[in-house]
């Protein structure tokens, strides 16, 4: 019994040690963001600010157009989310429930497209945008991401588990194919839809390399690109930089704390990294 308790204490000690390693950078970020510039570079460092200086947040917010960056990210995130939910539900429904010539071929081609990682895709994607004269537009930031194969695949797997009898019964009652999708399939697939939505939101908010490449105008920059350039320009002003970083991650961290169980379960089931 004693041996067991000692074992548990050691385990909790180890887990806490790693927990501290995970949290410490966040803690350091937040306390730096509340210090005066002088205190931030003082040695030995203070583990809690002498005076809480909330002004850093206001200063950072005003230094570069952060409101604009936020707005851009919200626009991109919402547009992508709505687009992905609509296009993926429709396509997944056709793959899961309908029979038509070319279905399997198209599905396999889609899966092949999934193997193209974003870094490989940026130059080809950029060249197409140049052809369309879309570089430096909201279209470039949203349209290419309005559909993605991963979401289609995930929803298709889920739609396939809905029994065929249900469909036959609904048709007998005069339900159309589209009505069946709206009234029965989607309400039965809430968990899968939430997973798709969460990946879409986190992915859009955190996206960096694509918006970096396709925008050069300040007014079009989403939050990550805005923050990245802010860091380059203000390379020494760490109180403002940490303040900006804190409000940049706040929306996603908040979402994470509200839906923590759902988000972790979604990641555990998928093979995709956010």
């Amino acid at each position: 019994m004693v041996k067991k308790t000692v074992g548990k204490i050691i385990i909790i000690f180890l887990l806490s040690l790693i927990g501290i390693t995970m949290v410490l950078p966040f803690y350091w970020m937040i306390i730096t963001s509340l210090k005066t510039p002088l205190e931030a570079i003082q040695f030995p460092p203070t583990w809690f600010p002498n005076h809480l200086r909330f002004r850093n947040y206001i200063d950072a917010w005003k230094q570069v157009p952060f409101p604009r960056y936020f707005l851009n990210s919200v626009i991109i995130t919402v547009a992508t989310l709505v687009g992905v939910l609509i296009t993926s539900s429709l396509a997944a429904y056709s793959f899961a429930r309908m029979k038509y010539p070319g279905r399997n071929f198209i599905f396999l081609s889609f899966l092949a497209m999934m193997m193209i990682p974003i870094p490989v895709y940026i130059v080809p994607g950029y060249l197409i945008l140049m052809k369309l004269h879309w570089v430096d537009t909201y279209l470039a930031l949203t349209v290419p991401w309005l559909a993605n194969v991963f979401s289609i695949f995930l929803l298709r797997q889920h739609f396939k588990t809905i029994p065929k009898d249900l469909f036959d019964a609904a048709v007998m009652d005069g339900c159309s194919r589209f009505g069946f999708l709206i009234r029965i399939v989607l309400p039965l697939s809430k968990a899968a839809l939430v997973t798709v939505a969460l990946f879409s939101i986190i992915g859009s908010w955190n996206a960096f390399i694509w918006p970096l490449v396709v925008t050069s105008k300040d007014a079009l920059r989403p939050i990550q690109v805005g923050l990245a350039y802010f860091v380059q320009e203000q390379s020494t002003n760490y109180t403002l930089l940490t303040a900006a970083t804190t409000f940049t991650i706040a929306p996603i961290v908040l979402l994470f704390f509200i839906l923590e169980k759902r988000i972790i379960a979604s990641f555990a089931r998928s093979g995709l990294k956010g």
Binding site: L15, A91, Y126, I252, I264
Partner: protein, 313 residues
Amino acid sequence: MKKIFRFLGPYFYLLPAFLIIFVFRFLPMIYAFRVSFYKWGMGGAEKFVALRNYSTILKDSSFWQAFGNTIYFSIGVVPTSLLISLFIAVLLHQKIKGVRFFRTIYFLPVITSVIAVSMVWKWIYHPQVGLANNILQLFGVKGFNWLSEWRGILQMFFAFLRVNFPIKGPSLALYSLIIVSVWKGLGYNIILFLAGLENIPGQYYEAAKVDGATRWQVFRHITWPLLSPTTFFVLIMTTIVSFQMFAYVWMMTGPPAGGPLGTTNVLVYYLFDHAFNFTRYGYGTAVAFILFIIILILTLIQRKAVERKVFYG
């Protein structure tokens, strides 16, 4: 009329997704493949050069440096991340209180953007007033120039021991990025392992308990073999992701990024640099296809493994 509509119906459902994926995934790749055989700049095609872009890349010493750095990065990240996350997952699986709390904390870096993470770690690595050197100083260790140290970590280690050793290893700057990457990705691997552990039937453990097996024996003969599909998945996934590393280099190194002395220049940064800083799209697409082949091979290995998991799992 109704019959035609009935036949065409499915295609209407497919159309929106198909259009996007065809125009913005498939077409660009075909188009880019053509571009990779040209000298192609700001204004478009300049000259057909056949395979010369590819041969120039393969003769470019900085490409091979970037290739080597990417391999170093993978070797630095993958085994470390795998072992630590497996260890933590096994600890978390011991039915102790507060599992959910720990899991949440470990997962926090995963949902945080690479840009935010890079910013915070750049501050931690600050050579004069950064947290890393401050902590080292508490133990009487003189700090490091983390992100601007070009000397290899093995070189530094053996110089400290006053031993001659021929291999330099990744620069400390690259190793600093490895640490950040492991830190950020750990939570994701932990939950993948946890999911794997939950799939192992409890009766095996009960049987082992009856037989009086030690903790190590249980791990060695039950957990490890039954967890192998998950382990393999995590291994390949982490490798693929580590081959795509870019933002840390852009954010934390230099100026110029990729420094000091090109020791943090990785394949994706090399690609970005040529395509967008020098607007050499033909050359850039050729690099993209070489990177694509490397990642494709890794992906196919993973697919094969997943199939095996389905058949024998």
